[in-house]
């Protein structure tokens, strides 16, 4: 109220005493850029009364346009640079941005003028002998402009994520006569009608960052429905870092603010941001992901506490400072932003934007087995707009060496494979960071494993080949009892169906699905070990989909009608091996159960054993390589002597 009255009085003053021909707005006199003794800031002259003279002088100005009077800085600046910049990288600031920098680089006294008022020569106005230092909420850019939005850069009309240049001026953004962005593109130094001397209000209709969005038309931002980063009205719960507030930058920084009101500035700050993406930093050392985890830690994004998952024993190393800033997207030759495969392989990392596009993401994870239709292998809403790779699939168990980049993945595996395949690491997979991988300790190539031309695989890329886990009852195919939920032999699935937080309890739970982290190695949603399938493992991973009354864990039915590993379809051999002999799954099945070159993920352990880590049997244990396991003719038609002729255990074969 008092301020309004004050403003009213100031307005009267302007109209009455200054000629009264103004348009009725506040004018520079009421801004911090009024450096005269009548100024509103603490940074002002002791007694000098002229306002314009701090920047302008009508005669012998330098530069002539716009009749500049403030002493210019001679500094050499570090310009903004970015590997994703579409336009040519900016050089030293030019044009009118240099004028702003004559105070705001903090190297020239605020009162240092080429012409003192009323006809003097050069000098310094009393009271303004100091440089800008950040005191009095003044803003100092310094000479390092690499953490500031680029200036003196041509507005590139070829960038589809920028608004048409013809629309800018009508929408309040000013490019200079060379088509370049300058400080004045966003700021009007003569008017603080809008905060920070911006040319537009910060919010319109409750949606923030109006000014940013006038130029930046981020792909998907305006087209994806129900995008929380754009629409959410969630508020901060007051715990931890205030996600809205970075001193001196945020415009809607009260605690009751929302993602909708902050928009771009929920995550970015145009000055002083971290990395070339100008993201906000909270000093935690996570790199670009810090800003994500300021909301996705339970403090703003309800039900999407990703940080809790990342804190688990086996997690993507989002929070490990050793991996911070390794995410290094580049603008590729086709104009799209991706990472070089070499950076994925040699500089391994997992930051939030490696898997999520914050400008496209909306709620919705891949379906679970109980969902209508069961699981599928599609990329869900949370993976919208991220890039991945589609392999060119070779024959059975071939090395995948050819990939096609996909800029908006359709299938989840396309995302995972960009790091977990030859595409990133060639023929030399990295070591298991947790040291639990069998054999050499190296991880494996998931593109080899999920190749739909393999003899067997979990149906991540294509529906599985094992079509005998069905039973025809009265002419109706019945999968119940072998696959759980709404799964069928034609179902597909995602990596995240197995690799998720151990606290993930399904769609109704509060823990997000996805391979963020788990207390089960390797980032599995349920326990899994070399014992899985033997007594006491009823709730292990495999039995989330495969009915443990059919396949193992010690309660197996002898009904052979629900498994192909049976005699005449009537007697279950899983019953014999799992229950009677208490054998775990990986006695016969691959210990990396992604896929395998033999049918039904069957691995050999004897005679000519298959290699680790796929074969996890001790020496001379498991299936004998002389067994003929090939061909679907064996389904439902196994005999003990098919195998045991090679294993002298007295079965009389």
């Amino acid at each position: 109220m008092n301020r309004d009255v004050g403003n009213l009085f100031a307005l009267f003053f302007l109209i009455f005493f200054l000629g009264g021909s103004g348009a009725g707005w506040a004018g520079i006199a009421n801004t911090k850029h009024n450096l005269s003794a009548s100024g509103t800031s603490t940074i002002k002259a002791t007694s000098e009364q002229e306002i314009c003279v701090f920047c302008h002088f009508p005669h012998n100005a330098n530069p002539a346009e716009p009749l500049w009077n403030h002493s210019l800085s001679g500094e050499t600046y570090i310009p903004y640079s970015s590997s994703t910049l579409f336009a040519a990288a900016p050089g030293q600031p030019t044009g009118r941005s240099k004028l702003c920098l004559s105070c705001h680089d903090g190297t020239i006294a605020v009162g240092s003028l080429r012409h003192m008022p009323r006809g003097g020569g050069g000098g310094t106005i009393a009271g303004l002998e100091s440089t800008l230092s950040g005191a009095g909420s003044s803003f100092v850019l310094g000479t390092d402009l690499s953490d500031d939005h680029p200036v003196s850069i041509v507005f590139d009309t070829g960038n589809s994520e920028l608004a048409p240049i013809a629309t800018l001026e009508a929408n309040g953004i000013i490019l200079d006569e060379n088509g370049q962005i300058q400080c004045g593109s966003c700021h009007d130094p003569h008017s603080d009608v809008y905060p920070k001397f911006l040319r537009k209000p910060f919010t319109e209709g409750g949606y923030g960052a109006v000014l940013c969005r006038t130029c930046h038309d981020k792909q998907y931002w305006s087209t994806v429905a129900n995008m929380p980063h754009r629409d959410s009205l969630n508020q901060w719960n007051g715990t931890g870092d205030n996600p809205w507030h970075v001193p001196g930058h945020n415009l809607a920084n009260d605690a009751s603010s929302t993602p909708r009101a902050n928009a771009c500035e929920s995550c970015h700050q145009p000055h002083g941001g971290s990395d070339t993406r100008l993201v906000k930093s909270y000093g935690k050392g996570y790199g670009v992901s810090e800003v994500c985890l300021t909301c996705h830690n339970g403090n703003v994004a309800t039900g999407k506490d990703i940080e809790a998952s990342l804190n688990k024993l086996y997690a993507h190393p989002v929070k490990d400072p050793a991996y911070a800033w390794r995410h290094s997207p580049e603008r590729m030759g086709d104009g799209k932003v991706r990472e070089q495969p070499a950076n994925l392989g040699n500089n391994r990392h997992a930051q939030c934007p490696d898997c999520h596009n914050p400008h496209a993401v909306s709620a919705g994870v891949s379906p679970d087995i109980d969902d209508v239709g069961g699981t599928n292998n599609l990329a869900s809403n949370v993976l919208k707009g991220v890039w991945g790779v589609e392999p060119v699939w070779p024959g059975n168990w071939g090395q995948v060496i050819s990939f096609t980049e996909v800029d908006d993945i359709q299938y989840q595996y396309q995302l995972c494979l960009k790091c977990h395949s030859y595409y990133a690491f060639g023929t030399n997979p990295p070591m298991d960071p947790w040291g639990q991988m069998r054999g050499t300790g190296q991880l494996t190539d998931q593109a080899i494993e999920f190749n739909p031309n393999n003899e067997s695989y979990h149906p991540v890329v294509a529906p599985g080949k094992n079509d005998f886990i069905m039973n025809t009852v009265n002419g109706v195919i019945d999968y119940s009892g072998s696959l759980l939920g709404n799964l069928t032999p034609g179902s597909t699935m995602t990596c995240a169906d197995c690799h998720s937080d151990d606290a993930y309890t399904g769609p109704a739970g509060t823990v997000p699905k996805g391979p963020h982290g788990s207390d089960n190695w390797p980032m599995l949603r349920a326990p899994w070990s070399s014992l899985t399938g033997s007594t006491g493992t009823l709730n292990d991973l495999c039995f989330k989909c495969h009915d443990n009354t059919v396949y193992g864990a010690g309660v197996i039915s002898s009904d052979g009608s629900k498994t192909g590993f049976s005699i005449d379809g009537s007697y279950s051999l899983h019953y014999v091996h799992g229950r009677v002999f208490n054998k775990p799954c990986m006695t016969c099945h691959a210990a990396v159960p992604h896929g395998w070159k033999r049918r039904a993920l069957l691995v050999f352990g004897r005679t000519t054993p298959d290699p680790a880590p796929y074969n996890n049997n001790a020496s001379n244990r498991g299936l004998d390589s002389r067994i003929n396991i090939g061909g679907s003719e064996k389904s439902g038609n196994w005999q003990c002597c098919d195998c045991h002729v090679y294993i002298p255990v007295g079965l009389g074969c």
């Binding site: 005493f17 000629g19 103004g22 002229e50 012998n60 009749l67 006809g119």
Partner: protein, 230 residues
């Protein structure tokens, strides 16, 4: 109209000087300004032998004839090209005319000022000598060796590209084009000449009540804000 008013003001000054017997402290008239180039002048640039004040600019007879010029007596500059202020945001660019290359018949008001302030013509270069120096020009002190105005005394030089633009039309059309000007029909204090901005729009050469002969006290940059809506 404007010319007539200027003429009447000249008459007023003459009258005041005459009736007051010239004490030099009567009021803040030209006599107390640096534009009093006579021996009695308060500035550093002044004559050492000429007692008349007006003569440096005006003469009642044998004046340089021009419709814009009130009985002008100072020899005009022959500078061919001063250049003009340019800016992408200066909408007066369509009407601004270079002050160079003018002669007595085409000179604009600002050319009168430039006859001293561009530094090409000696300050004492008068068209019609004074009564005290009937055979020549007044002897000056404080000038450059060639008799021109020194730097520090408002010597603009012959490059006007770094000076506020003058000699352009400020009318309702310009007001409408530029979104940060005030309506030229409601201006007060500043003066347009035939609808154009000239040196004398801001400066009153006869009165230095305000520093640098400004027409409006520039406290709060009030003069600037008469035109500029910032």
């Amino acid at each position: 109209m404007k010319n007539r008013r200027d003429l009447s003001m000249l008459g007023l000054v003459v009258l005041m000087v005459t009736t007051a017997g010239w004490t030099g402290v009567v009021h803040a008239g030209i006599a107390t300004t640096k534009h009093n180039l006579s021996v009695a002048g308060p500035g550093t640039v002044k004559s050492i032998d000429e007692t008349e004040i007006c003569i440096f600019c005006h003469t009642p007879h044998r004046a340089i004839k021009n419709d814009n010029i009130p009985l002008w007596n100072h020899n005009l500059s022959t500078t061919g090209n001063y250049g003009v202020y340019t800016s992408p945001t200066f909408d007066g660019a369509t009407t601004i005319q270079d002050l160079g290359g003018t002669d007595a018949t085409t000179a604009a008001v600002s050319n009168l000022c430039l006859s001293c302030h561009d530094g090409t013509i000696a300050i004492n270069a008068l068209n019609n000598p004074s009564n005290a120096n009937p055979s020549g020009n007044p002897t000056m002190g404080g000038t450059n060796a060639d008799g021109t105005i020194p730097v520090g005394a408002g010597r603009l030089g012959t490059d006007l590209t770094d000076d506020h633009p003058v000699n352009f039309v400020f009318d309702s059309a310009l007001f409408a084009l530029d979104n940060s000007l005030n309506d030229p029909t409601t201006l007060s204090g500043v003066v347009l000449f035939n609808g154009t901005v000239q040196c004398s729009s801001c400066h009153d050469p006869h009165n230095s009540v305000n520093p640098t002969f400004l027409r409006v006290n520039n406290t709060g940059s009030a003069l600037c804000l008469r035109c500029h809506n910032k």
